[in-house]
């Protein structure tokens, strides 16, 4: 098409006639256009039916690494019986499954997420907190943390999850362990969980230092 476009002025002899009955079209172009349209429609359906699902948020530029051999979940602070659980010991604790909606403070949500893990209450019973206390949850990597009151921690659907949709958590979703508090926004549930610390004072979490509510109840 380069350089040889006829200059067409109405009324001049060069005015092109309407397209002929059968201009030569390219099958390859047709395929490409069809594929593009299918991709677009597929993407639109995916977005509208919520299949796009989770957006990944992390505050460190590197996703924390997990090694099942050396991983420990430390449960300590103001408790009678502090614990340090290996990965195998954590998996040996009574496991529960639950289906709950996930809500992000950014405005997206995922319905009916299937989680499996250990009730936070199970851990609380094991370590026996010494007095009404707060609980701080620390992520691998040492940057992210957040806290709950004991009452929030004892909500029936507060879960330390290690499986999501019947599969082990993937690194972006917090492998190996994440806290799930379905009645609050997702930032209240640290991923890559490595330490559960009982404290007398409430620790202000990562995002709460940056303006989010310390009680992340859904609005």
């Amino acid at each position: 098409m380069s350089g040889s476009i006829p200059i067409a002025v109405p009324g001049s002899a060069q005015q092109p006639s309407p397209p002929e009955a059968a201009p030569r079209i390219s099958r390859r172009r047709l395929l490409w256009l069809g594929a593009g349209a299918a991709l677009l429609i597929g993407g639109a359906c995916r977005v509208l039916t919520g299949l796009s699902g989770f957006r990944i948020n992390e505050v460190e530029s590197q996703t924390p690494a997990f090694d099942p051999g050396s991983f420990r979940l430390t449960v300590d602070g103001a408790v009678a019986k502090p614990l340090s659980l290996s990965w195998a010991e954590l998996l040996a604790l009574p496991a529960v499954s639950q289906v709950s909606d996930f809500h992000c403070v950014e405005g997206w949500g995922v319905k009916d997420v299937r989680w499996q893990g250990v009730r936070l209450q199970t851990l609380i019973d094991l370590v026996q907190p010494q007095h009404p206390a707060f609980i701080t949850f620390h992520s691998l990597g040492g940057v992210y943390r957040d806290s709950l009151t004991i009452d929030q921690a004892l909500l029936a659907d507060t879960l330390l999850a290690y499986h999501m949709y019947e599969q082990p958590l993937t690194p972006p979703h917090g492998q190996p362990l994440r806290l799930i508090v379905p009645q609050m926004y997702g930032y209240k549930g640290p991923k890559w969980l490595t330490r559960v610390e009982f404290t007398a004072q409430r620790v202000v979490g990562y995002w709460e230092q940056r303006g989010w509510q310390i009680d992340g109840w859904l609005s």
Binding site: I5, G11, G107
Partner: protein, 220 residues
Amino acid sequence: MPRFSAASRLAHWALAVPFLLLLVTGLLLFLPPVKAVHVGGYRLVPLVHVIAGGVFLVAAPIVWLAAPGRGALRADLRGLLSRSAGDGAWLRYAGYTLLGARLAAPPAAKFNAGQKLNTAALLLHSAGLGLSGLVLGINFFTKAVFGSAFVERVFPLHDLFMLLSLPLVAGHLYLATINPPTRPSLRGMLDGRVRRDWAAAHHARWLHEIEATQARPERP
């Protein structure tokens, strides 16, 4: 020869610059390590996206309502949003050309049917993105206005409008900067002028109209 007034160019860029900034920062939000970058305690990309969204919502309307010489801008908008002779032939030509046929372009007015469809579609997408983005932007600053259930219904709409606008924006950029026959039009949006031979090839009816007007003798 002159094609776009300063007001029309300003209106175009007041829409285009925030739109492209929003598209780039919006797409970067899908890359967690980039989204995680902090400056002064705030995540840089989400913050720029939200601020650019505020600029997007006010910049183009301000230009449309307040730009000096906006008569020409209004005339361009009228031309873009109305039908004119040759639209049907031009659409048939564009359809066949997309499918690989080699045809001569039928003469078009100042705006051909493709430019008109692109404008209408982008204005619709801008409205959809702007309205849903306004909800999400308010939700970014305060949870007191909208409930989470409502916001979660709006969120995928924002994604949908973005997705549907991608081929439009990509096609527009391709035709304006890469495609050899059409890219001389970019100058019209930069310094307001285009080559006469380009106008003759692509907007013959417009050229004819202008030259007929100029050739008309001055009234006494």
